[in-house]
Amino acid sequence: MVTEAVRERPAVTGGKPLLAVRGLEAWYGESHVLHGIDLDVGEGEVVTLLGRNGAGKTTTLKSIMGVIGKRKGSVTFAGQETIGLPSRAIARLGIGYVPEERGIYSTLSVEENLMLPPQVKPGGLPVEQIFTLFPNLKERLKSQGTKLSGGEQQMLAIGRILRTGANLLLLDEPTEGLAPVIIDQIGATIRMLKQKGFTIVLVEQNFRFAQTVADRHYVVEQGKVVDMIQNAELDANIDKLHSYLGV
């Protein structure tokens, strides 16, 4: 089995993983979407989930966050089992979430959107530093959240979880539908966050972008992890990856 091959590899460099997912299954109503996801993310790592549309990447993030109807298996964060917890308790452990649709509130101003998530731990970025990262936000604090451009909304969605002290960030396709110059800016932000010690799980369609930010890549297919590729070995495995992604 490929999944066993994945487990045999030294997935994490030193010590216990910050996030360990074992046999994670999930359902949307009656439809069984995840069939046993296994993955590890070490502290300070940037890991991507690659795969075709509908493979279960977004669902994996949602299941880690606990915002899905039914889930089974095991998700431990910093040694604590979270599978029975409501999403608000999972967030309080230090996990920040940027959903695929970005989740900017139209009934809140930019400032209210930014300040909405409560602090869950000490050590979040000060607001001034978030403005240094994303200067556009500072100029538009009083605007309605959804009046921002797509790129600015993405920056707001990322910025608001940097404040909270969360040390694991789940980013669902942060580059989707954005102009190349904005994608570069988001790539630079992710590298900066890694330097600051944030741990990041990133869902990506675009593996060329993923290659510029990640340490490792998990390939998801039909609700399972079917392979794990070190970033350094990505080019050597390009044919295999193309067949996984169907490009």
Partner: protein, 295 residues
């Protein structure tokens, strides 16, 4: 004596004041309904009964415990609000995941039960509640006579409505409430306790209804049916203003009270139906309501 638009000014301003009083109750009640609908997606048919409970609690406070009007103005909303919290925790929570129609049926059933209980114990003829001594009498404004208590009702409800608007639109707690209304799942995923927010919001909406009930006690007799009579008009007000809009509920409440008052002066035959005629027109022209956002 001069006339205005063919009507003596006393009659005109008198009816406008009455309209403003009715508008005050429409505004507080539709505000509570709008807040509850926004977050719980439930059309709270118990609202009229909870307004009536507010008036009764004030009456009980005075007659059984000797607690005066001013204290009742605070205590009755808290007491009725607590019953709202219990209803949300033990009943509404259980049906939150099913179709909203069940919430409507459940709250309608509760309203009938509560009204029946009060009718059983207190009859339906109505109990008197004295205007507090500080608010008796009135002032002659020259063009009309203003009873002090009626002026107080308008001022008090304006203050409560604007304070509620401020809390929801301008405070941190309000931003949690708006966020949970717009996207409860994501708001919960930020670590915010949405279920608690839902319970407190229902309690608060119910407390608003009870506050209106205490204000109403000295004007209308305290009567088990007082809410049932009023709530139908309030639902029309909410439909006209647009479900879920806070400022919309306040503005529509006061304006429709005034429109009703004016109709009583100029075409009294239509005064009982004018709000429903406006509702029909609004539904035809702007189905989401005057202040509502189209879904």
């Amino acid at each position: 004596m001069f006339e205005l638009l063919g009507v003596p000014p006393q009659a005109l301003f008198g009816q406008l004041l009455l309209g403003l009083i009715n508008g005050s109750f429409y505004a507080i009640l539709s505000l509570g309904l709008a807040v509850i609908f926004g977050l719980l997606n439930i059309i709270n048919f118990t609202h009229g009964a909870q307004y009536m409970m507010g008036a009764f609690v004030a009456w009980m406070c005075l007659n059984y415990l000797g607690i005066n009007y001013w204290a009742a103005l605070l205590l009755a909303p808290i007491a009725v609000g607590v019953t709202g919290v219990v209803i949300e925790r033990f009943l509404l929570k259980r049906i939150a995941h099913v179709d909203h129609l069940y919430g409507l049926l459940l709250t309608f059933g509760l309203a009938l039960i509560i009204q029946g209980l009060f009718r059983n114990n207190y009859g339906s003829s109505g109990l008197p509640y004295q205007i507090p001594a500080e608010l008796r009498g009135g002032t002659n404004l020259g063009f009309m006579f203003l009873p002090t208590y009626r002026g107080w009702v308008v001022v008090a409800s304006l203050i409560v409505c604007l304070a509620t608007w401020f809390m929801i639109e301008k405070t941190k707690l309000g931003s949690y409430l708006r966020a949970a209304t717009e996207n409860p799942t994501l708001t919960q995923a930020f670590g915010i306790n949405v279920p608690l927010l839902v319970t407190l919001t229902y309690g608060f909406g119910v407390a608003l209804a009870a506050f209106a009930g205490v204000l109403a006690a000295p004007i209308y007799s305290v009567n088990p049916n007082m809410g049932a009579d009023l709530i139908i008009v309030v639902f029309a007000v909410v439909v006209i203003g647009g479900m879920g809009s806070i400022m919309g509920a306040i503005v529509t409440g006061f304006s429709l009270g005034l429109v009703e008052g004016l109709t009583k002066v100029f075409y009294p035959e239509a005064s009982a139906t004018v709000i429903f005629i406006i509702m029909a027109i609004v539904l035809l022209v702007k189905p989401a309501g005057l202040f509502g956002r189209a879904a």
